[in-house]
Symmetry: C2
Subunit: 360 residues, 2 copies
């Protein structure tokens, strides 16, 4: 048996206002005047001087806004990479992602594709990346996905939604500034926070789990419970705790996997473009057969924050569409194996999944 040699984020700075250290952190990483830093920024921050005014642009550095209305696509990564190559003679000094999971994943993927031939879709899977990525920095502005610490970058390609899982994926530098997440709208705060809670549920209930991942998952699970259920934690502290929950939740995946929620949710977003956070919640809410006890807690959180999940989003789909969802979902074998064990194929049928999707 061989155990995964997990690549950790090289450096992390945590603290309220530490975003102000960005300039100082990048300074020593600039290769030359002609090798720019490319800042990939969630376009929700367009015109938000409090964020963008602190992005240190010099020489030929560039700020690229990306929309996160849709889940990130391999084609979007390819376009960004092409644009960077065409605009700048020299390879960039670094890629800096400022945003939520989607933006962080795009930044990771771009930094990989700048040093690896072909298209992003060629690298969807496990350990297909050949060359180290260029220096890349992650700055989360919403908490929950764990993208800031993970070794994957989830992308929707022409024929699958699957991550670029590789040793070169994790960020070289992460900046955890809890102040940056203070203005996240409530619904998004909830759905993205639930991504973390659901990670933990899936990881802690999975067959892949070991004591390493369990210790991270348990801490993240606890922090989520406090953030979403406690009446005594103030907003500032709650933001800090959710930021750490996301971090530990992401680390807990090192020796585990997500499970049934993510498997089904990937199908949903592949066909309907459902965003990851809300998609997870819609799926989770139907999975009493798999995660009964944790669902109680989830529903308590939902009620406490007055969250109403969309209903009947699959009701009017044609069977072919449902079948595509099932194909995408069942293609994620490690997720099913983690959730249900090596004999998972005997434990879940296409008919079961069909019924589950129809109920969503």
């Amino acid at each position: 048996m061989s155990y995964k040699n997990y690549p950790m984020v090289s450096r992390v700075v945590f603290g309220r206002g530490c975003f102000n250290q960005l300039s100082e952190l990048l300074e020593v990483k600039r290769i030359s005047d002609k090798a720019p830093f490319i800042f990939i920024v969630d376009d929700v921050f367009k015109g938000n001087a409090w964020i963008t005014g602190r992005i240190p642009l010099a020489y030929s550095d560039e700020m690229v806004y990306v929309s996160t209305d849709e889940e990130p696509k391999t084609s979007q990564v390819d376009e960004l990479v092409e644009k960077i190559i065409l605009t700048h003679k020299d390879r960039p000094s670094g890629i800096i992602g400022i945003g939520g999971g989607s933006v962080l994943d795009i930044a990771k993927a771009v930094s990989i594709m700048l040093t690896n031939k072909g298209e992003a879709k060629d690298y969807q899977g496990w350990d297909l990346v050949k060359n180290p990525a260029i220096y890349h920095v992650g700055i989360p502005t919403i908490s929950g996905t764990g993208a800031e610490v993970s070794r994957t970058t989830v992308l929707t390609g022409p024929d699958k939604k699957l991550g670029i899982n590789s040793d070169f994926t994790p960020f070289d530098q992460v900046i955890l500034d809890p102040e940056l997440i203070k203005d996240v709208p409530k619904q998004q705060w909830f759905y993205t926070g639930m991504d973390c809670f659901i990670h933990c549920v899936e990881s802690l209930n999975g067959t892949y789990l070991n004591t390493f991942s369990k210790s991270y998952g348990e801490k993240a699970y606890e922090l989520c419970k406090e953030v979403f259920l406690s009446d005594t934690v103030d907003k500032k502290l709650s933001d800090e705790m959710l930021m750490m929950a996301s971090w530990h939740g992401g680390m807990s995946i090192a020796y585990s996997q997500v499970g049934v929620v993510h498997a089904l949710s990937y199908g949903l977003s592949y066909v309907l473009g459902t965003k990851h956070g809300i998609g997870n919640c819609i799926v989770f809410d139907q999975l009493d057969d798999f995660y009964k006890e944790d669902l109680k807690i989830f529903r308590e959180m939902k009620t406490k924050h007055g969250i109403e999940l969309p209903k009947n989003i699959c009701k009017d789909l044609i069977d072919e569409e449902i079948n595509t969802m099932i194909d995408v979902s069942l293609g994620l074998e490690p997720l099913w194996e983690n959730a249900l064990g090596p004999n998972w194929k005997r434990k879940v049928s296409r008919t079961d999944l069909h019924q589950l999707y129809r109920r969503m």
Copy 2:
């Protein structure tokens, strides 16, 4: 305000038996036939083929046994470095420490001193190291110190006991194999485990604490409580949990500091050579004025495992010796500031410390 940019261990593999992957992990790191791997091994493993038989020696690789009867010294590091330089024409491909906190600290210090001029004592302090260390690997065979994950390497020098705290100190690779700690003798298991518990107590009660460090410290604290107080955790699981407690406890120091226990314990070991783990316990047991609630739990653990601490180890010392202890202790300003706040000097007097030491 500027926050520390914490350098993390680059890679970690965790799993029962993962020590067997050492050869495979090193293979890709060999610079040339003439650039050896130097294995620094606790001499308690002399003749223990179960450990040493799995150390992959090739070309001019070398295994160096070190005694850990005494706390590691700067002079010991300098001697090892000199020997390596005299024996091998090429700079080593890597340094691998296999042992407890002392051995791991020696390995870290040797890897730093192979690329930095002068003597190890010149680098005792914060951020004095100029050049990156050579590739270094940590393989703990006892759990609690957190040396496997920390950015320090605690050494006793000619005039102080103080760490080489630097961004280049953390290991490039850590191998966490819980099987390696299965035969640790009970007393040592307890004292070293208490190093972790005490780290957490000092960090969680300190003024430096932030939400990042708190989340790690709380998890490590909880794991320690389970390991040392639960009746339902079996030995295998307990070893795994203690290994993770040590890891998280070490990480909790990222944005915190140890406190009064370590400050006094350094004085003790500087004058009497008291080993770190037992020294901490002897000191902690006298600190009702500082850590009352946690001391109750510590005493419960002590009773449960039938641990009798040495008594009156300072009773017959001359005042000059006690004064040296106090000097060493008070020299550790960040520890005191963390424990008692910026006005710590008003809160603790030499007379107090004199009395405390006399009681030990």
